[in-house]
Amino acid sequence: MFAQLRSKKQIAFMPFVPAGYPDLETTGKLLPALESAGASIIEVGIPFSDPIADGPVIQEAFTRALEKKLKLAEVFATVKKVRSSVSIPLVAMVSVSVAFRYGIERFAATLKESGFDGLILPDLPPPEAASISAHIRAAGLDTILLVAPTTSKDRRAEIARLSSGFIYYLSVAGITGERNQLPVELADGVKSMKSLTDRPVCVGFGVSTPQHLKQLAGVADGAIVGSAVVRRMKEKAHDGADAIVAAVSTYCRDLLSLVR
């Protein structure tokens, strides 16, 4: 899939949606709609009670979903139900806390069975990632690990070796959330990462405007957009699933206007 986009010289667009926010109906409708709106991959965030890497927007979405007693089994069932109407890859993002309690092997197998293609564990760096990523790969899922601006060169190589699918490159040292500008040193950071690996490198954290995507095109293989999507969901949270889907789709098309 990245090869196809690369040949078209297009950047992959990866929106993030928190599962079960504001309800599972919305999640089920958003996945096919996001594909129609130009998504290349969809990142499905599984709510966690203590997301230390997340800013207020995603935290609040997770809190609201969990307040309604969202269960993992319901997330799996919802994705499974709509999977046939979505042709692009789906990756799950979840705290290792949730995966560990479920049992890593069982968790990976259940994700695969529900129709997921990969798994991002944002709080699982090497060396702890080594044995766990083997279990995830054994289940037939890609293991997507994070690289931060603060990551040393040796660790970047190690993370590339343990990853499959793509590498999640953090634009900033910080938490998730929209930022006006991407750091100037980001392009060099991504370039140095790409010199260490053939795997696609996708940039997330802070990415939120059409200009950001234009800036990243030609530098990174993909752009991950989370809080900006969730903020638009929140604005329509009381207007029903269709209103949320419409708002998010409009935003995504606008976001892609300078790169497609």
């Binding site: 969990l66 806390s97 709080d123 603060t150 990551t151 040393s152 910080g174």
Partner: protein, 408 residues
């Protein structure tokens, strides 16, 4: 009851953990976003250097002695011994430290490391406010900009400590997420650190969090146990038969237990918060009722639901009101070396009053949990036996809350 069983005596030396990656048997490790790894590695390297640097050790001991007032006393609690009618009871008086609790020991150590790393700002989480006060204290002492995260519920319960922190120049950042207690304060401090890691050191206040914190905090707090060991030998010519300490994250317990951990004849008991009852959400008895899981950077026992979501917890004591526990305690529990039990809110409040009346000492509500368990244990011991309680902090900070609870 006081003879270690055969299985326990055949265990390998327990003092040799953690390994280089911070593993205490299966527990511990480093489960945090990659963003923090560089800072944790820097801290680990700096701490390893400092540990072997006589100049650092001298500095650390200087401040413990001249500023904190160590060694803290090992005091024979005559009236409690008589009342409980069994063991000879000794109190390790951490409540007499400057700032009123054991927390300052660790803060001195980490503040010195902050200086060595060339960082100018420190952050901390706090529950009861004791660690926040200790952090604010070293912030003033070493001229470091200080921000303390504290749950809004704890800000209410511990208003005296909030005022103390502000007086010493710290900013207190009220946290309104979750149940607005210690866990939520820790989340916010971690988030701050994610974005400030270049210039800021996060002084974690317990033996929890990612490596090297559980090891490093234990080492800094081990002055408690080292002194207690020597003092007990001086006074009684031998080691105690049992040691009791309360366990939230577990730093005061780790500090007093660790120097005795290979002395198998010394029985150790960690006391958790039993809160209002045994249902999930009503207590904070992580080791008694939890299961292994990942929280705040390490693998340890944790109170979670079956989906891995952190459970709500409750304790009358803000310092014990936490759904996790340090990984070394999980290791000690599984090995059978330390026995863990819990004490209810009411039992702790009763002990608070009993210790005040009989000894003229107001223990922190956290420490009152240890006293309540000690009362149960002491009566089953003989007069020749020695029971040591870690009086980890003073209770002045709790007076308002205790007054509210006993007058209702």
């Amino acid at each position: 009851m006081w003879v270690m069983n055969a299985a326990a005596t055949s265990l390998p030396p327990l003092s040799s953990v953690p390994d280089a990656l911070g593993h205490f048997g299966p527990y511990g490790g480093t489960f945090v976003p990659e963003t923090l790894i560089a800072a944790l590695q820097q801290l680990d390297a700096e701490y390893t250097k400092a540990k072997n640097d006589p100049t650092f050790q001298e500095q650390f001991e200087y401040y413990l002695r001249e500023f904190v007032g160590r060694p803290s006393r090992l005091y024979h609690a005559r009236r409690l011994s008589e009342k409980w009618g069994g063991a000879k009871v000794y109190l390790k008086r951490e409540d007499l430290n400057h700032t009123g609790a054991h927390k300052i020991n660790n803060c001195i150590g980490q503040a010195l490391l902050t200086q060595r790393m060339g960082k100018k700002r420190i952050i901390a989480e706090t529950g009861a406010g004791q660690h926040g006060v200790a952090t604010a204290t070293v912030g003033a002492l070493f001229d470091l900009q200080t921000d303390v995260y504290m749950g809004a519920e704890d800000v209410r319960r511990q208003s005296l400590n909030v005022f103390r922190m502000k007086l010493m120049g710290a900013s207190v950042r009220e946290v309104h997420s979750g149940l607005k207690t210690l866990k939520d304060a820790l989340n916010e401090a971690m988030r701050d650190w994610m974005g400030s890691v270049d210039s800021t050191h996060y002084i974690i206040g317990s033996v929890a969090g990612p490596h090297p914190f559980p090891m490093m905090v234990r080492d800094f707090q081990s002055c408690i146990g080292r002194e207690a060991r020597q003092q007990c030998i001086e006074k009684e010519g031998r080691l105690p038969d049992a040691i009791i300490a309360c366990v939230g994250g577990g730093s005061n317990a780790a500090g007093i237990f660790y120097p005795f951990i290979d002395d198998r004849e010394v029985k150790m008991i960690g006391v958790e918060a039993g809160g209002r009852g045994s249902a999930l959400g009503q207590h904070a008895a992580t080791l008694c009722a939890g299961k292994p899981g990942v929280l705040h950077g390490s693998l340890s026992y944790v109170l979670q639901d079956e989906d891995g979501q952190t459970a709500d917890v409750h304790s009358v004591s803000a310092g014990l009101d936490y759904p996790g526990v340090g990984p070394e305690h999980s290791f000690w529990k599984d090995s059978g070396r330390v026995e863990y039990c819990c004490i209810t809110d009411q039992e702790a409040l009763d002990a608070f009053e009993e210790v005040a009346r009989l000894e003229g000492i107001l223990p922190a509500l956290e420490s009152a949990h240890a006293f309540a368990q000690a009362a149960k244990v002491a009566t089953k011991m003989t007069k020749e036996q020695i029971l040591m309680i870690n009086c980890s902090g003073r209770g002045d900070k709790d007076c308002q809350e205790v007054a509210r609870l006993i007058n209702r």
